[in-house]
Symmetry: C2
Subunit: 371 residues, 2 copies
């Protein structure tokens, strides 16, 4: 990591070293509150996904505002948050292998931990490890509700796993994980509505079947920033996992919103500096693909429709400047990353800015927690 930080508390924004990851605190707090008010009196809980921010300070704020806990993707990621005081984590993944199971059970001894399964052998392995450690674990059956990634088919296959969990010591059948990931970036509201209607129907069918056979399904969890209002209004989902809403990014910005959909503000930026101005047609900035993940497209230059970030190499970004001399050496630009989650994962700290002043520097403590 860099031997020095991009900024310190109290610095003026003009002195922040670049490239740096900025959080606009006003926009961030607007997003936090907007989500809570969108869920108010709808009878659904928020369990935001912490893979987006990997930052305990953010998780603790979300919980203070009413989130029941957080989601993580990895055992080591969850461990960072538990260490920081988060006592309720759902790991939205299947966890296999002795090493990971041991770490998972160590966590379950300290906090309420949930985990997913989509195969009988995973349940056996979880039970054995939980028994050995003397802990109890919340186990959710992952159901494939249309994303075609992990998960069993809706219906009987899910019941069989639920039944196995229910009859196993040290495990508690907590509910169904029904995340429709591919719906999040469908561009049209009608496409998203159709996908989530199908997901909710699959979840309902599965819940009905399981409960008809005598096993209560307490929780149906899923949803992301692109569709959470659909799951909220489904009457089926009880817990929502949206994560990106706190930051937003240019890929989410390409979603067309219907009239009644809540919009969030861009709060996450990569601050970058023009380091070379080789021609009238282009400027080169110091933020490349190690500063802004390009898996979901190039970043967008904030509030500069005249400029286009056209190409990224490791540590260079090429900005097309069709209007010529509007940028000079040392000009600073704000970029909206293409995809917030993997961009945040490139930084050790997030520089929290209010107005023109650095208000805080928060460590992204779970950055790189891949295990």
């Amino acid at each position: 990591m860099s031997p020095w930080k991009a900024a310190n508390v109290g610095d003026h924004v003009n002195t922040i070293d670049t490239p740096a990851l900025l959080l606009d605190m006003d926009a961030f707090e607007h997003n936090l509150n907007r989500m809570m008010s969108a869920l108010d009196r709808h009878g659904v809980r928020l369990r935001p996904h912490a893979k987006s921010h990997k930052c305990p300070q953010i998780a603790l704020r979300q919980i203070a505002l009413g989130a029941v806990g957080i989601c993580c993707q990895k055992v080591s990621e969850a461990a960072v948050f538990v260490e920081a005081g988060v006592n309720n984590v759902l790991i939205t993944n299947e966890i296999v292998g002795q090493t990971k199971l041991k770490h998972l059970m160590d966590l379950a001894a300290k906090a309420q931990i949930g985990v997913l399964v989509d195969h009988a052998s995973q349940i056996d392995a979880l039970a054995k490890a939980a028994h050995l450690r003397g802990v109890t674990l919340d186990v959710y059956v992952e159901v494939n509700v249309g994303a075609n990634r992990c998960g069993v088919s809706p219906g009987l296959a899910a019941y069989e796993l639920a039944e196995q969990i229910s009859s196993t010591e040290n495990l508690r059948f907590a509910g169904l994980h029904c995340y429709q990931g591919t719906a999040q970036h469908m561009r049209l509201p009608t496409q998203r509505a159709q996908a989530i209607a199908a997901a909710a129907q699959a979840a309902l069918d599965t819940r009905t079947l399981i409960e008809a056979r005598g096993i209560p399904v307490q929780t149906i969890t899923g949803a992301g920033t692109g569709t959470f209002m659909l799951e909220r209004d489904s009457g089926i989902y009880t817990e929502l996992q949206a994560g990106s809403y706190i930051f937003m990014d240019s890929d989410y910005g390409r979603n067309e919103l219907s009239e009644n959909e809540v919009s969030f503000q861009n709060s996450l930026f990569v601050l970058t500096t023009v380091m070379s101005r080789p021609s009238e047609e282009q400027a080169i900035v110091d933020a490349g693909l190690k500063a802004s993940s390009v898996d979901s497209g190039m970043p967008i230059v904030w509030q500069r429709d005249d400029l286009q970030y056209v190409k990224a190499s490791d540590e260079h970004g090429v900005i097309a400047t069709p209007d010529g001399d509007s940028l000079s050496l040392e000009s600073r630009l704000m970029l909206i990353p293409g995809h917030c989650d993997p961009t945040v994962n490139l930084y050790d700290d997030i520089i929290c800015v209010r107005g023109e002043v650095v208000e805080a520097v928060w460590p992204i403590s779970a950055r790189g927690a891949l295990l």
Copy 2:
């Protein structure tokens, strides 16, 4: 970062937690030696690019084998290597802004530091900062030899900057930076040969013009893993900057090699585990786009032509398994990353493996050094 490491020295490879970044030491050492023998008695120096590995242990090995120093892309990256004992670093970038210049001069007080310029105002700012700190800096003029990124045009524009540097106290005109980056991944040998012939001609023309006006051009530096033999044989380049040769990746693997081109071995892998087997057609592994950068394409499954890594989300990878049941839960696969540099930048450590044993765990100390 993860509170625990993927492996410790002495561990068997089968116990390495995943996803983990592996270095096959035999292949790595083969590559190190292969490069040195390829350059032996050709009158060119090697200054390998450390942006690929960001690992002092690797840089020190390269130097022990004969490299004259290293290249870095960032001031903070260079600082990590200087701190680790590397005393000769060329920062292959324009450095602008007071904060960066101050850190740069602090480095120049400890080691031989070079830097690029492509504008007169950069030279003025470097001179002022160097004078203030009482240090002398090597300054190279970056010439655009075909990559169309940074750099002045060949010829007179380069002379003007060289003349300005030569007549400025605290700065030493060290030569020309003539890196043709876009040639590295041209697929056909004839394309690469043509691109580097043009780059070498531009470098020669520029050197001739500058020297005719009385300023010696000591060094012409450039080249990457895709073309280094062409620069080696050009009679023009004196220093080569190849970096990826130590690791290789699937993007370099798509370059077609001519008969006389040196080939390197894949030494860098992402070890991953099957965590879900939702259908006959696909397996889900625990390495997604936070474990293997997809900017240059999906990873390739090592020595498993029957398997294709088809899709990455944050922490999931989808493997198409057309032959059905060949993979079970907990199966482990080795992935060749699409692009080595940004993949290495996702990890805190590289697990060095010889045969079936972990021989070392090297910190990737300059990971995330973006400033």
